[in-house]
Amino acid sequence: MSFSSIPASFRDLVLVVDGAATGGVNGAILRFNGDTGSNYTGVDAQGTGSSTGSGTSSGTSAEIGVAGTDRFVITSQIMDYSATDKHKTFLSRHSSAGDRVRMTASRWANTGAINTVLFSITGNSYIAGTTVSLYGIAS
């Protein structure tokens, strides 16, 4: 799901995903302005209900959750998305009562204003009824 032509008139963006994947255990990722360079980094902590863990990531997209067939909600708040003097940081929460709970802090190493947000589940699809919403928070 891609949101493009995002106006620069808000302060922050909030992405909310409610649904599930059709199969497998897939990365739920964000990508901005079509940037497929290795410009995304993150650190996360998670609990599976029986174990805890923490990790880091870097690559061509920002992994903000692990989407499986268990229903989940993902929220991601992208601060100062239209600023042109800073890299973009965003805080994400992935909540799946049947799988795990996870928090991720991420950075897109680019000072450009965000005008396109791509949310994707790698290697799989959303189930019917999945909603992906993008909100703007006013200054």
Partner: protein, 173 residues
């Protein structure tokens, strides 16, 4: 996006629960913000959230820390550890809950963040994933301690609805 206060409830005297009923069905998502303290118990007590008076169909995954030692993950059902009479005076726990598509016809996922406040080593911070396996639209939400201990006066819960605005020119594909 518009975030609109539906109602704030603040206890003038201690009470066993706080409940919101007749929730308007014209929003997209719900946000609950809480500031709570209980009369008695310990730092490990929690508060339960129930939709439409239903006590079944709930599942959870939690990640929490207690101020010392390693974090823990379990499938417990409290959404917030509350401050109790054993915690620092005049301090209240804080929590938020985000419930997307509350008026829709799918099972209801929700996300919770919470922290108890205490001027001591033991204080809890948790993130919780929840699911209510019920396709009913949410029309009421109640909060109560599962051990039936009262919430103290000054405990406050605010319920907001988030409503989608116009696309603002954003193209979706």
């Amino acid at each position: 996006m518009t975030m609109t206060l539906i109602e704030t409830k603040t206890l003038g005297t201690a009470a066993a629960s706080i409940e919101f009923t007749s929730i308007p069905q014209d929003g997209t998502d719900l946000v609950v913000l809480m500031s709570l303290r209980e009369a008695g118990g310990s730092e490990a007590d929690g508060i339960q959230m129930r939709f439409n008076s239903s006590s079944t169909g709930y599942s959870f995954r939690r990640l929490f820390g207690a101020g010392s030692g390693s974090p823990t993950s379990d499938t417990g059902g409290a959404i917030l550890w509350m401050n109790s009479n054993t915690s620092t005076s005049n301090t209240f726990a804080n929590a938020s809950v985000y419930i997307p598509n509350y008026a829709g016809s799918t099972n209801k996922s929700f996300s919770n963040d919470g922290v108890s406040e205490n001027n001591a080593t033991t204080a809890y911070q948790a993130i919780v994933a929840g699911l209510w396996s019920n396709t009913e639209a949410i029309s009421s939400i109640s909060f109560a301690n599962p051990s039936a201990r009262n919430l103290v006066a000054g405990s406050t819960i605010s319920l907001y609805k988030i409503t989608k605005g116009s696309s603002g020119g954003v193209v979706v594909s």
